[in-house]
């Protein structure tokens, strides 16, 4: 039996970042897949050992541009654990607000890209249009649209201005009807349902086998969430719930992310109301010898940071584990047995973030036989939607 290989990447219009998938196909069906990463390795853990504790927050923010708060969040949790200090209450609320606003913008970004892969460019344009108000809030708070630099060991770097609160609340409440629109667009559209429901299914067992985290796990009915399981910042002071869905397919992953948009908005609004006045940081004079761990539920799942201190000015060892590190390998389970036209959306469904993952990789590279290029794959996916749409109209 002749097996054909479809290479996706390393540079491919489907991907923002360089990574390489090798799909082994038999006719239309994917029978095997290789994943090769390492194109984004930038030696961050090593550089971190040469920076002071304050500078490291700026460095690790640049691990990833989409979830650029999740790494400082986990890192500052680790430092607070190492020091054994209690961060001022107001700083905890500010951290929570920044973390949740980021979840909203990250989920909208994913929703847009998923729409694009399915051939619904309208969803892409609308989702990114309504992501802009969130970036405006960030710009008002921190002065930058991304890479907010709000965190520092023992607190936050900037205070929120009470005069901005009415505007922030108004912007967020204005987004709720738009979220309803996306919910309607994804949940009630028969074509999107047909394209995504039961596609790329991960069962509960698969999730446990591959140790998936975040929305990828929650879409298979596994309710894990660091915010609830090991509360930090102000998550135990506000009222919210963990979203799960059954099914484990691409559709379930989209549903989980859309419903989380509401929860995150809810958390931010509660935090703005409940936030106490007071100091926003601690004056940390010196670092004891020791080690600390910090966790944060990033938009994609659990981020884990480990810091070892030898009492000096910079970390002796800094270890990072990003959520995509666990999630992307579940692609191997999800893609095999599906058709080539579904492969693009399944690969995208875990919301992979390669720049987060790649701090350590040794990979051997071979080139596959080139049969189709990336444009063809997106075209295949979009044609399938078109076909479904036409059949529905006829029926």
């Amino acid at each position: 039996m002749a097996r054909n290989i479809i290479p996706i990447g390393p540079y491919h219009p489907l991907q923002e970042e360089p990574e390489f998938f090798r799909l082994h196909v038999d006719g239309e069906t994917v029978v095997d897949m290789d994943i090769e990463i390492g194109y984004n390795h930038r030696a961050i853990e090593k550089i971190s050992e040469s920076k002071s504790y304050d500078q490291v927050t700026f460095l690790i923010e640049r691990i990833c541009g989409i979830c650029s708060t999740s790494h400082p969040f986990a890192y500052t949790n680790a430092i607070d654990d190492l020091l054994g200090v209690q961060v001022p209450e107001r700083a905890l609320y500010i951290r929570t607000i920044i973390g949740e606003l980021e979840r909203i913008h990250s989920h909208l970004l994913w929703l847009g890209l998923a729409g694009h892969f399915l051939g619904y460019n309208t969803v892409w344009m609308w989702a990114w249009r309504y992501r802009e108000p969130i970036l405006d809030i960030f710009e008002r708070i921190s002065g930058n649209r991304n890479h907010y630099a709000m965190f520092k060991p023992g607190g936050v770097r900037r205070d929120l201005d009470e005069a901005d609160f009415p505007w922030i609340k108004k912007t967020l409440k204005g987004l709720l009807p738009k979220f309803d629109m996306f919910k309607g667009a994804v949940m009630d559209d028969p074509v999107i349902r047909a394209r995504t429901e039961g596609v790329g299914v991960l069962t509960k067992k698969d999730v446990h086998d591959y140790a998936c985290v975040g929305p990828t796990a929650r879409a298979s009915g596994v309710a894990i969430d660091v915010r609830r399981d090991d509360p930090y910042a102000a998550y135990d002071r506000v009222d919210w719930k963990v979203i799960t869905a059954d099914g484990g397919g691409v559709f379930a992953k989209a549903v989980v992310r859309i419903l989380e948009l509401y929860e995150s908005t809810n958390i931010v609004l509660q935090c703005l109301d409940k936030m106490p006045k007071g100091p926003i940081d601690l004056n940390i004079k010196d670092m004891p010898v020791g080690e600390g761990i910090g966790r944060h539920e990033a938009p994609r799942g659990e981020v884990f940071h480990y810091i070892m201190s030898d009492g000096g000015n910079s970390p002796a060892r800094h270890k990072v584990r990003a959520p995509s590190y666990m999630n992307i390998f579940s692609n191997k389970k999800a893609v095999i047995g599906e058709t080539v036209s579904d492969a693009t959306i399944i690969l995208a469904a875990v919301d992979p973030c390669y720049c987060c993952t790649e701090r350590m990789a040794v990979v051997d590279c071979k080139t596959g036989k080139k049969l189709m290029d990336g444009q063809d794959l997106i075209r295949l996916s979009q044609e399938k939607t078109e076909r479904l749409r036409n059949t529905r109209t006829i029926l």
Partner: protein, 141 residues
């Protein structure tokens, strides 16, 4: 100024090349295409293949694994080809200058025409950079 280069300024088709970036410049580039900024008004469109491109938007600090691929992609590009370096990492090497995996800056490998610094540059800054580039190519001050 060659006729080819002048014709290119009418509608620049760009190819996005991430050489190991943090994704942030990359999403800001995609943001340019979405309704708030919408650079398609100016004939600027993101293409999927380097063989259709007039300009390459380079983001990220080059690393050991991407250097051979970036070279290969530049060799496949139809010439004349304009190189735009976006973000602190590709303009200099930014915070990654001392890393063991990022040996050289982008402009030692590719002939960069215009630098747009920032971490990440705002979409407005990118539009301004491209406007300046077009003026430069057309020989205007």
């Amino acid at each position: 100024m060659s006729l080819k280069l002048k014709a290119l300024t009418k509608s620049i088709w760009v190819y996005h090349l991430s050489t190991g970036s943090c994704n942030n410049c990359d999403i800001e580039i995609l943001d340019l295409l979405t309704p708030r900024f919408d650079v398609e008004r100016f004939g600027i469109i993101l293409v999927g293949s380097i063989r259709h491109a007039d300009a390459i938007l380079v983001t990220g600090a080059l690393n050991l694994k991407t250097i051979p691929r970036v070279k290969a992609i530049y060799d496949q590009a139809p010439k004349p080809c304009v190189i735009i370096a976006i973000g602190a990492c590709s303009c200099g090497q930014g915070i990654f200058a001392k890393g063991y995996n990022t040996p050289e800056p982008v402009d030692s490998l590719l002939p960069v025409n215009i630098y747009i610094p920032g971490c990440p540059p705002k979409p407005e800054a990118m539009i301004l950079g491209i406007v300046k580039l077009i003026q430069k190519l057309r020989g205007k001050k």
